[in-house]
Symmetry: C2
Subunit: 423 residues, 2 copies
């Protein structure tokens, strides 16, 4: 997609005509109807402090905004009007939209304002812009979805994830000034403490990424871990790493779907997998935990969540995480209800995920030229938008991060309190 | 109701005839059909290690059980068969059932076995024995319900609640060996820490009991509290106590319904009121919190809960807590979803409530003769059953105790972690 070099020029605000300037060959000046639609779009978005500017300089929104979204051609405007959830990302990736000001901070403003405005939308707008509800994937579908994202290449992720444990989930900043490496190790320790691991115990992990948690548990808590994942690249890397660290006899990495997990365990843990499971499969996951977790065992699920049910953003689902679903806290609790579990402890680490994503994006932006060379411009912009947008969701509160500790409903082998986690 | 003095005699177990003995005038020997029904009742209850024994010595269940339920007359058997949820309590209170072995431990066994067995019941049994769903009370109904329970007389409750803060909700045993007094004060401190109270803040409390939390907050955390309750007796006592403690200018007790709460606050707290609200009114409660809690405030709701939705036991609803409803964790989360809140922290203190109830019951049994003298035999037995049964519910896991910390969804003034609670 050719980069369009329209200039950023000041406008005189709502409905005013922008100053005349040289018209790019690809675009005639905006028509009255287009200017009207742009102004409507800004209003439907809850009038955020963000300027929307057309290819010819016409703009809606405040004159003095910190943020400007520049729409570089006529087709882009119509795509944005028709399906902003999907096409903002498509156009940004293609370079047909440009953002001036910090991309993530701009999205925080947009998310906050849309959040408030959407209750006032006419029904046809809600319908037009709605992200479709999606269902959980079967075993083959899940493999396809996971490989699309996680098999992009370990080298890609290694460039911007932490070097300590290769964690691609929310870190835990035990103190606010921690580095990403420290905070990812603190997350692993936090999870282990919540599970009250004791040496010699058996752990099952569902969705193990590059295997960092499993290795940490084995090394620092003396447990044996069977860790499941359907990403071939991740599993291969995890096995090699366990070998290098001399943990191959303590940690077994198994390339298989969570639905095929068998055996028994003292602790069942899943960090960042539930987002790929889909609510239609929560019963199946609950059943797996039910049959594997010993009567006096503890489980922990760590997942992105929401305050209210909503579909995953259409562009994220299309380009980044096919088949993903982010449950509301109520949907999430239904999983434990279905499994006959008692919820013992829920912790919301939303702002820790915002910080994690800031750290990731800083590193990502530092290696962006390399990403552009390895993939292409479109890919490099898409991943920046994804990281910036996810951080914005956690800052704006449209996304949450829940860690849930649970036990079989009949168990009285419960931690006395949570004091030991912080000892 | 006259006390029947049937003797406890051994039987030869399932379906066997008990030894012949003198038949009380009121009861002919049990008929074959009655013996069959008794055996069925034991089986439908999941065959718990509890003997069910009739007035003539016939028994179902194991010979060597630690627990025996003695059914002292024919009418009692039929009542129990027809509506065990309501009539076990009615008959026990009336002295027409007697329990040998610890009442609460017996109920733990019964609850655990019924919990597993009920999924296998034929539909007609489920229907026959179902507790009716109940709806939330309006303002007048709520006042009536609350006064039935809480206006029994402050003197009654003072005999067996803690002397430190007159708390009629779950204590927090920061260490397992705490006394009831220590654990109730630890609960108050735990709640204050979760709310991150700072001197000078304004707190609203919905459902304040005898006002112990409000006084604790004012004294130890330097906040001003407006505390609401519709129990006249409790409010009167709370005001007098605040005066005695020199806190009358810091704590205002207001005799009014939660729906009439106005003003703004930095912290909204409700400990043990939600059980009386009813799910139909959760939206109204959420709206009250929404309009009173400042944008950077925190809220805490402490409530009895469940793993799965179910009605309150019919007898408890009839005799002890009219209009009560114990929400499942999913129902509870819907309240926060409806209010536009972010759930930050959920802690389940189920076994702390079991311990609290053990402490209450020990004290209650020590003053039971006085209770009998002040009220009557029926009342004294009913309250023993209520305390024993509630403790059994928390031990068996049919009941949970949730403390939920929440914030307005837009707020980023969130505690960094939970470490400060345990500092």
């Amino acid at each position: 997609m050719p980069r369009q070099e329209a200039q950023l020029t000041p406008s005189r605000g709502h409905g005013a005509l922008g100053p005349r300037r040289a018209v790019p060959a690809a675009s005639r000046p905006s028509a009255g109807a287009e200017r009207f639609l742009l102004t409507m779009l800004h209003r439907l978005g809850g009038a955020p402090p963000v300027r929307l500017q057309l290819w010819d300089g016409f703009a809606a929104g405040p004159d003095q905004a910190h943020f400007t979204i520049e729409i570089l051609d006529r087709g882009a405007l119509y795509q944005l009007l028709r399906s902003p959830n999907i096409d903002f990302g498509e156009l940004y990736s293609a370079g047909r939209l440009r953002v001036h000001g910090d991309l993530s901070d701009m999205l925080v403003q947009v998310y906050r304002h849309i959040q408030r405005a959407r209750d006032t939308w006419p029904a046809w707008v809600t319908t037009l812009w709605r992200d479709p509800a999606r269902h959980g994937a079967d075993v083959d579908g899940a493999r396809h979805n996971i490989q699309r994202h996680y098999d992009l290449g370990n080298a890609f992720y290694r460039q911007w994830l932490d070097t300590a444990a290769m964690q691609y989930t929310c870190a835990y900043y035990d103190t606010p000034d921690m580095t990403l490496e420290q905070a990812q190790l603190a997350k692993l320790e936090h999870v282990c403490r919540k599970l009250r691991l004791r040496p010699g115990q058996e752990v099952i992990e569902a969705g193990c990424g590059w295997g960092g948690l499993a290795r940490y548990m084995a090394r620092h808590h003396g447990v044996r871990v069977r860790a499941f994942n359907i990403s071939r690249e991740q599993i291969a890397w995890a096995r090699r790493q366990a070998g290098r660290e001399g943990l191959a006899d303590k940690v077994e990495y198994i390339e298989d779907d969570y639905r095929n997990i068998a055996g028994r365990c003292d602790a069942f843990v899943s960090v960042g997998m539930l987002e790929h499971v889909g609510p239609a499969n929560y019963g199946a996951l609950a059943e797996v935990v039910r049959r594997t977790l010993k009567p006096d065992g503890l489980g922990l699920i760590h997942t992105i969540g929401r305050n209210r049910p909503a579909a995953v953003n259409g562009w994220i689902e299309k380009r980044i995480f096919p088949g993903s679903h982010v449950p509301s806290i109520t949907e999430l609790m239904r999983l434990f209800e279905a499994g006959g579990f008692s919820v013992l402890d829920v912790e919301n680490l939303r702002l820790h995920y915002a910080r994690t994503l800031e750290h990731w994006r800083e590193r990502y932006l530092a290696v962006r030229d390399q990403v552009r060379a390895d993939y292409d411009d479109n890919f490099a912009r898409a991943w920046d938008l994804y990281l910036a947008g996810a951080r914005a969701g956690f800052v704006a509160g449209t996304m949450q991060l829940f860690q849930v500790v649970f036990a079989p409903a009949e168990s009285n082998s419960l931690p006395h309190s949570r004091r030991d986690i912080y000892a």
